[in-house]
Structures are given as structure tokens and as C-alpha cells.
Subunit: 282 residues, 2 copies
């Protein structure tokens, strides 16, 4: 089973590692515009061979794990090149633009739109780890538009890697993921920015920061190469979440200005039930 991984970073590399472990017959081919990444992936044993895009004609599986704008740019070329029995899936954090892009392609049925909710704040092949996907949710969009046999092939991979599947339409996916993922990244980046701006001349101040601050700004370490395209693709939804977030922060500030600490207490108490909601998210 020839598996081509296009983009051999954290996400693609972690797929490569797990698929190799779960399927004896898998041979992993890495495609990446960075020769350095490819060499590192080979050296680390993340891939078996370096390859180029035209070679995907011999692939049984193609996994596209590059920024969402780059995926939109090459998805039709990939579908043009693959054989009739090849499954192509991507793993991007937005799904609507991509589903639109492939909608009328002759080989639409070779494509499966997936979004495994997994990752870390690190990037590159050296960040790839085993079992990244175990116990994680994988959102699959427009499953009915993928050929039945290729759906099965995809589910076999996702299931051996330990993922649980949720089906969703791409418009709902993009709207909800703006709340539970994209907004978190912006809140974290802007928190980091606010503190760095204020404290840039006072290095010692970060000695005062504890694990709470570290946890809240963790996502501000994320790669802009990945995230700028996501925000661009999901612009309307993300702007809406930002408006609501800013409105809530402004209201909190106004309660403080009015010395209404009873209401502030209540706001926090009400939000505490995030504890229950978060149960089960590692």
C-alpha cells in the first residue's frame, strides 16, 4: 500500500508514523516543497522514501497535510493525477472552500474531506509523534460524495489510528470550529501580544508568570503559516466569534468600572460549568 503524504510536518508526519505502525504493508512516500524537511523526515524514519507530486499516480492513499490555502491550490491537480482507486483526504481546519473547489471535479468521489482535531503547538517533521490521533475526534464532511469503497478505506485507517468519527456538513463545521478552535488561537495570540508589549522592557516580569499564563498563551506558539490561511478561509465566522468575544470582555470591563462584583462573581460561576463540558477532552 503506497501512502503519499503531501506536507511532512507535525500532522502529516504523525499520520505517517501511525499508518506505518498499523499497516504492515504500508510504504510511506513523503512530498514536501522543503528539501530540508524531506531529508529530516527520512533521517528520522518518518517516511520511507522522498517523492515528487507527479509520482502520486502510483499512490493508493494520498494525505494532504499542508496549509489550507495551499491545499485549495493543489487539490484539483492531485485529483487529476491519481488513479481511479486512490483515496485522497486532507486534514485541514476549514472545509467549506475545499469542498466547493472539488465539487465538480471528475474524481470528486476519490476525495474525502477530513479534519482530525489533534495537534500540538509545534511544527515540522521533528514534531511528529506516535499516537497523536488516538482518542481524538475526526470530523468528516460530505461523506456521501466519496465513493463507498474509498469511504471504507478511509474509515479503516481512522479506526486503526484510534479516532472517533463525527459526520458534519462543511458549512456547520466551519461555523462551529470557529468557536471551539479558531477563536482560542486568536485569544491566545492577542494575550501574548498584550503582555509582551507591556513588559518588553522588563524581562524579569516573566519570572512572575505561572502555569496559568503558560496554559492560556500556549497556542500563541502556533505556526502563522498554518493559521493565517485558516483565518482567511473562515473569515466571516471568525469575525463573528471575535465580535462576541470582544462584547463579553467589554461587558466584563464595564461591570468592573461600575464596581458590580456580584455580577462578575455570577458570570464566573456560570462559566465554571465548562468543567463538565471539558471532561473527556485531554
Amino acid at each position: 500500500m503506497k501512502v503519499f503524504v503531501v506536507g511532512i510536518g507535525l500532522i502529516g508526519g504523525s499520520f505517517a508514523i501511525d499508518i506505518k505502525a498499523a499497516f504492515n504493508e504500508a510504504e510511506i512516500y513523503g512530498v514536501d516543497r522543503s528539501e530540508e524537511n524531506l531529508n529530516k523526515a527520512l533521517e528520522l524514519g518518518v517516511i520511507d522514501q522522498k517523492a515528487t507530486l507527479p509520482e502520486i499516480e502510483k499512490a493508493a492513499i494520498v494525505i494532504i497535510a499542508i496549509p489550507v490555502d495551499a491545499t485549495v491550490s493543489i487539490i484539483n491537480e492531485v485529483l487529476d493525477r491519481v488513479s481511479d482507486n486512490c483515496l485522497v483526504f486532507d486534514v485541514g481546519s476549514t472545509k467549506k472552500k475545499l469542498c466547493e473547489m472539488v465539487a465538480s471535479h471528475d474524481k470528486r468521489r476519490n476525495y474525502l474531506a477530513a479534519h482530525p482535531i489533534a495537534g500540538t503547538e509545534f511544527s515540522g517533521p521533528q514534531a511528529a509523534i506516535a499516537n497523536l490521533y488516538r482518542g481524538k475526534t475526526n470530523i468528516v464532511c460530505e461523506v456521501e460524495k466519496t465513493a463507498f469503497k474509498l469511504q471504507e478505506k478511509g474509515m479503516e485507517i481512522f479506526s486503526r489510528l484510534g479516532m472517533r468519527i463525527r459526520y458534519m456538513d462543511p458549512v456547520s463545521h466551519d461555523r462551529h470550529i470557529a468557536y471551539v478552535s479558531h477563536l482560542s488561537h486568536i485569544s491566545s495570540f492577542m494575550l501574548g501580544k498584550t503582555v509582551i508589549e507591556k513588559e518588553k522592557n522588563e524581562r524579569d516580569i516573566f519570572d512572575m508568570a505561572g502555569s496559568g499564563f503558560a496554559s492560556t498563551v500556549r497556542l500563541a506558539k502556533s505556526s502563522p503559516d498554518m493559521w493565517a490561511p485558516i483565518f482567511k478561509h473562515n473569515k466571516e465566522n471568525v469575525i463573528e466569534t471575535l465580535q462576541e468575544y470582544i462584547a463579553n470582555l467589554t461587558q466584563f470591563k464595564e461591570l468592573m468600572e461600575k464596581d458590580d462584583f456580584d455580577e462578575i462573581y455570577k458570570e464566573m460561576k456560570d462559566t465554571n460549568h465548562i468543567k463538565t463540558i471539558l471532561k473527556g477532552i485531554s
Copy 2:
């Protein structure tokens, strides 16, 4: 060495556990307005005995680990009651109001203003853990106003518990801690609120949330009993941080509205160096 811990929750309880382990001669007395907490602390072996406030006349050490407004209310009574050789320290997240409150007390020299930057999002005696303070920063304010022998006594405890000490005046402490701690809590609470409001009728949506969301809203599990008084005490500084945070979020939203994704990329790239800053914070 009779050690009285006033407020036997996460913070006070964790001090009790570590002091007992580090000082053979320590006997831990728990004082708490909740009989249930006291019984639980006794049952868990966090304290050796239950006690009441008047008994602190026999204390060698008093640790006040209750919400900052409650500390301000009782600190002078505590100082009235303790013996001349007793060290009293608190562990609250704001220091200015407390230092003002004790400024003219006869026993000002018995008091040490401390703020160990340690904790978890859990609370109560069952949340108390060993080694919570190991490797953590402890900010000490107005050290020169504490009697020399009692400074030494305090440092002996902090040092055996593995804390590193930073000295700071209470006004600077409250200003900087607003950025590196208090703002993180509000950003997290309001993120939790925004997502819960939006998704309250769609429980399945939280299946989509990953570890990034969990990390960013972790602090929204924190106790309002502890945090509402902190925001009240540090009102001016916290409002200032909120203004700057809201301004940065608004600017980010405007960049998105203008489709200026190059600038958005740059903002994120610039903030990425939080990686370096966070090194060393666990």
C-alpha cells in the same frame, strides 16, 4: 513548631503538606470557617488538628490562605492575637491593599507579604498536593518592614519548599501581576462564556473541541470566591490590561475585515517569540 493554616484549601493545604514533610517538629493546626473542609483536611492527613482563630496566640507561624478580601478583613485581628515571635504571612494575589492595611499596626514587623505563583484550577483541601511550590517563584513585598529574625524564618520555609524568591514593592507587584496572571483568567473566563453561549443548544459541538481549546479555557474552572475579590482589589490595573487586550483584539478583527492577512501573519510571527519567554515556566 506550631503552624496555623488559616484557610485549608488548595494553597493552604499544599503548604501544610510540604511544611510537615520538611520540618519534623511541625504540628499543623487548621482554621477554616467551613467545618466540612476542616474535617476533610483532618481525614486526609493534611492537618494534625482542628483549631479556632483565638488559639493562634500559641502559633509560631500563621499562614493566611483565604480570599484577599477576607485576608484584609482579618489581618489586623490576627496580628493582635499572635505572640511577639510569631511570623504571619499571607499568600494572596494582590499586595497593595494588604500592605496598606497593616502599615500602622504595632505588630507590622510580624507580617511578611508573600505571593507564591503556584496553584491549579482546583480548590478545597482535596485539591492540596505535595511539592506544589517546588521550583515556583514567590514574590515578597516590603521585606524590609518585617523583623529580621522573622524574615529568616520565612525564607527558611520558602527555601525548604523549593521556591525562588523575588523582591518587589506592592504597587509594582499588583501592576505586573495584572498582566501575567489576572488578565489570563478573564480572557479564559470570557472565552468559555462566548463558546457556551453560542453552543448551549448544541452539546455535540464540544466533541469538536481539542486540547488547544481545553488549554485556553482551563482557567475558567477557577473559583469565583477567590477571583472576584482579586479583581476588586486590583481594579485599576486589571481595567487597564483589559483595555489593551480589547484594543488588540479589535485591531486584529479590523485587519481581518480589511483582508490584510499579511499583517495578521506578521502579528502572529512577532508574538511567536512567547516561546522563548515561556521557557522555564512549567
